[in-house]
């Protein structure tokens, strides 16, 4: 039995699902939770936020590991096609990678230590924006891959 199709599908799944968890979690912790806890006393809100952050840290670290592994595999599989139209596809792939590394770095910095840095709200919002751009780049890269060559 040819295992390559299964690997390709699993690699896609392990790329999409961690991205979902990271983005969905960030959206929840940055947008949904502050609105939900708006009417709480500040100390209680802070305590709940720190608990959320502690759990989210474990989610993010796992997601980053899975994204790196599946992303490396996807790149190896698709590299032939990326080389067909270097200008376009290396540009999209490179930007996707650079933004992803930037988001990882911001995420690690925001989640390091027992308490977040003072400007964590601003940086979380910036990360959210970067992730939206990141997904747009990934979608465009996939569209270009489908249009110019057809691989996993």
């Amino acid at each position: 039995m040819d295992i390559e199709p299964i690997l390709k599908i699993l690699a896609r799944w392990f790329h999409i699902v961690p991205a979902c968890l990271a983005l969905g979690g960030l959206f929840f912790i940055r947008i949904v939770f502050p609105i939900a806890a708006r009417q709480w006393p500040a100390d209680q809100r802070e305590m709940a936020y720190l608990s959320l952050r502690r759990v989210f840290k474990m989610v993010v670290h796992t997601c980053v590991l899975l994204l790196l592994i599946s992303g490396t595999y996807n790149t190896i599989v698709n590299w032939k096609i990326y080389s067909l139209h270097r200008g376009l596809m290396h540009g999209l792939w490179g930007m996707h990678l650079i933004l992803a590394l930037a988001v990882f770095a911001i995420g690690f910095w925001l989640l390091a230590g027992p308490r977040p840095p003072a400007s964590h709200k601003k940086w979380a919002a910036i990360s959210l924006g970067l992730i939206f751009i990141l997904i747009a780049l990934a979608g465009t890269l996939r569209y270009a891959r489908d249009a110019y060559g057809h691989a996993g």
């Binding site: 608990s51 060559g149 057809h150």
Partner: protein, 209 residues
């Protein structure tokens, strides 16, 4: 019948180059918010507020549900709209006979993806509509999370089958319309030029060269 596919076949390439990536982007962003939000709501939030008093926990859940309702509604609208666009665009490829040695047609995987996606949307809406959540909301959220994760696998599988078909048969007509490199060079698949191969009645690959 397939209005969008017809429009995309005749539209200038730049229209496709804008509409299709945006449609995909919206579909993926809506999915991430729904899947990630559900997971966070169901797994992370209860752990994070476990130390609070019972009434405070219920208050947070109720408020979070009230806010998350908007995420669900907006994501659902986007997923249905962009899903219909993709379905219409890809319909003809779902019926292409599969080449020997590969998966069967792409259609069953796509239908399974749509069915699970629709089921999870119905569950998500039923959990967020109304003043009070239904009985056993956490259990339903867990079911929904599993459905969403399986739906993502099915979407990946459907895409893989479709691309395997492209590699062997060449792309469908609307892709041909897109395959003009800025340099004027014609695009090509890794297994040969577009429409370079076909299948016979037995499913064997035939070269058209």
């Amino acid at each position: 019948m397939h209005l969008l596919a017809d429009i995309l076949t005749t539209a200038p390439a730049w229209v496709n180059h804008i509409i299709q990536p945006i449609s995909r982007w919206l579909h993926i962003v809506a999915t991430t918010l729904l899947v990630g939000g559900t997971l966070f709501f169901e797994l992370v939030l209860p752990i994070a507020i476990a130390d609070l008093r019972k009434e405070d926990q219920l208050y947070v859940f109720a408020r979070a549900r009230w806010v998350f309702r908007w995420v669900v509604w907006i994501s659902t609208s986007i997923l249905i709209t962009t899903g219909i666009l993709s379905l219409d665009r890809l319909w003809q490829t779902y019926h292409t006979p599969m080449v020997r040695g590969g998966f069967p047609q792409s259609l069953p995987w796509a239908i399974a993806h749509m069915a699970l996606g629709a089921a999870s949307i119905v569950i998500a809406l039923s959990l967020t509509i109304g003043g009070r959540p239904p009985k056993h909301p956490i259990r339903w959220m867990r079911v929904n999370l599993v459905l969403l994760l399986v739906a993502v696998v099915l979407a990946s599988t459907s895409r893989h089958v479709r691309l395997t078909i492209y590699e062997n048969l060449g792309p469908p007509p609307y892709w041909m319309n897109l395959q003009h490199h800025p340099s004027g060079e014609q695009g090509h698949g890794i297994l040969g030029g577009p429409q370079a191969r076909s299948v016979d009645a037995n499913g064997a690959i035939q070269s058209r060269d």
